[in-house]
Amino acid sequence: MHSIRRTITLVLISSLILVIFSAAIHGYRAALSMSSRFMDQELTTLLYSVALSNGQQVEDLGSSELVYQIWRDDKLITDSPNQPDKPLTLGADGFSEQNFDGRRWRVYKQTLTDGTTVIVGQPLQSRVGLTDALTVSVIMPFIYAVPILALIVFVSVSLGLKPLKLLSSKLSHRQGKDLSPVSLPQVPTEMQPVMDTLNTMFLRLNEAFEREQQFASNAAHELRTPLSVMKINLHNLAKERQDEAGKLQAIQQDTDRMIHVVNQILLLSRTSPEMFHTQLSQVDAFVVAQNVIADLYSKIESKRQEISLEGDSALLMSTEFTLYTLLQNLIANASAYSPEGAAIQVTVLVKDQQVCLIVEDSGPGIALHERSQVLKRFYRDQKDEKYKSTGSGLGLAIVGQIVTLHHGSIALGDASLGGLSVTVSLPFEVTES
């Protein structure tokens, strides 16, 4: 990942350092050329004073580092102490740089009108020393400034990016599928378009989401009322035409199936992740199981099946509606696929930070090799063709969707009662993916 703050800080600090050092180099060069002009002038002055001394030792050299020689007809007439007895330079008159005494020297040679040659010299090192002192005094403030400037750059970049950081933390700390607009205390002009676009998007998403919810509820009303009418009319007709009881019963069964499918489709839309995450709360699975059994009891009882509920209070994060739908599907399935007089046992237990819902029956069960096939149907793609053609598959798809919402798991096994056992394990907490 690349960070805007790091990039800006690095670019600013490295360009600052670059500018400061090129200024330093330039300053060093300027100081060097200035000091060498000044030194050369000093050498010239020395040469004249040596020439004017007429062969006498010059006592006051101004600087102990300065040396001189006076030659006449290749004979050394006089010189400063500790000088090689060879000429300091053999070249032409003027300035030059020479090596002797293990050092490098700046040398000035002048041949006078009487044939006397005067040579003066000064070690380069002393010149550089002076230049260095000059340069350092010029550059030092810049060197000190680098860390201070770096700190200022870092702080101001951080400050400048603060609204962005605030926005990202606000977005990442959003609760579930919160689609309310974001607001910041002070929005910089550069970020205003981003904020506006973001909030417009949130608004539109929210509207779409509400429309979807509304659609489910409208569809419920629109379909359920005519289905009620159909059911009541069939009931009335069955009373009037007892001779047609067989045919009417078939139509009644089809109506009930249609009602079932409509209900299942609505359940599927209502257990969508958006719905689920906005409505999470702590729910007692045991109480929900009691309610489901009480509501399904007339159907179970009409098949003379025995149902019992084992276990104890088991709290988890979910919604009552979701858990109800899950258990209703599992228990209704157990009842539907078991013969008359069968036994159904529902168990709610807590294990390893999970709530296990176990529905067992004494029905025919599912053969081992067919179980994986059935499990697949729990998770099958909703675009599957089979999904569209039959109603019975929906129940499994709903169960699969709810288990996925909880990041739970589902397992099929042999029931102690002799039939199938379905175990759904749901973690206490729901983590959003």
Binding site: S217, H221, R224, I293
Partner: protein, 221 residues
Amino acid sequence: MRILLVEDDEPLSTALSSSLRGANYVVDCVYRGKEALAMLAADQTDIVILDLGLPDMDGLEVLRQIRQKVKDMPVIILTARDKVTDKILGLDAGADDYLPKPFDMDELFARLRVLERRLGTASTAMVKIGEVALNTQTLELTVAGEAVSLPRRELMLLKVLMENGGRIQPKQKLESRLYEWGDEVSSNTIEVHIHHLRKKLPENFIKTIRGVGYSIPVSGA
């Protein structure tokens, strides 16, 4: 028995009222909440069947106003909404019963009978399941025609179970009813009462649904 049917969907209203009339109820059909409140002012209604999705006002608001006018008017709510919260809201607003659409007519008739009994006319006070007959007003119990005497507390419990024949009565609900009757309730009070009742009643008359509650089956009786 005179029923006020408040339902805006005309086909449903027609079918429902014809079905109710077939079962010898007198039915007044209205299509708006305001009409319903006006009808109630005439003071001839015994039971209200109220659809929550009305065009002129919210069904729950109609219910609240009915409660203000006639405190103990029995009201059954019908709704196409089936969210658990809708059900709770409805019952909290004072509905006596709740039926999600689409419902079975037999279910509606059963619920109506419970409400009728509560209204307490002699002809409707008798509940008979199999060989067991209970007068819900006088709490007189006969089994196979012979009078049986039981403590009042246990007869009240039996009454609740018989009035809701075929449906499960959760243990907690029965416990809270016992509280209402001023009884001390310990963890196995209900079990003890049920045990006593069973001794006087035919075998398997009261079924235990383990972990959930009790029920008196209607189909097998």
